[in-house]
Chain length 121, copies 2
DNA sequence: ATATCATATGAACAGTTATTCATATGTTCA
DNA sequence: TGAACATATGAATAACTGTTCATATGATAT
């Protein structure tokens, strides 16, 4: 009785057509969902999480960050580039030293909510 | 003058020792940071984001989810397992049909904050 | 019983990613 | 100018991840 509406990938039948249609109406734009996943991808790495938490406390230069989290300067520099591209950190130069700091107020809230999930029983 | 304190990986010198020590004191436990990254890793995939957004609107069976987001039943099932392991979704069985629903109230807040970052100018 | 359907799962493959290494850039200081 | 230092970056490698395919499981209905 039920037909498969417009999906070439799905290899099964829609069981609750009304529910699917209702949910489809409420889905955010595909583009937003993609961008959201991209953002969380950036958060999904221990090194980057450590860097961001460090910057919650203070702006820091690359060398200090590397020392703090016990990673090579190169690894930290690579990750800072990722964070910079995601518009999560910004930097200022002072001679040969580059200071990085946070560029977003939402991060802390996101992390706090994340920690609430983790620390639940 | 500056020495490298206890880090074997870092290949540079601590420039601001006081800052590093202060920041180190304020860092959350290594374990939390690891778990947090693991959580965000789960969010860092478009398919899983879509599934979670779908479940914001209603509980759904696997087949309906697959149809909605235009993925194979198998792919969806694999991702639901990941979400289940992360304690983000739960399920109930009704005959041969399995209904999945959200198992966490924090997710929506996390996503909303994430969207605020994305939709900023 | 057997055919059908919904779901789960293991293996394989392709694509992605984080770190390392070597090196380049640009600044400071002697 | 040249040595030392902070940072950036490209290439290579190893590890990880998501999808697909084939198949298994378990339930329903005839």
């Amino acid at each position: 009785m039920h037909e498969n509406y417009g999906s070439d990938k799905c290899d099964c039948n829609i069981i609750h057509e009304d529910v699917v249609n209702m949910v489809r109406k409420n889905m955010p734009k595909e583009e937003y969902l993609y961008d959201l996943a991209e953002l969380f991808k950036v958060f999904g790495d221990t090194t980057r999480i450590k860097i961001l938490y460090a910057l919650f406390a203070s702006e820091m230069c690359v060398c200090d960050i590397a020392s703090l989290i016990n990673m090579t300067q190169s690894a930290v520099s690579h990750q800072l580039r990722v964070l910079k591209q995601a518009r999560l950190v910004k930097y200022r130069k002072e001679g040969k030293i580059v200071y990085y700091s946070l560029d977003d107020e939402h991060i802390k809230h996101i992390f706090d909510q994340g920690l609430m999930h983790i620390t639940e029983t």
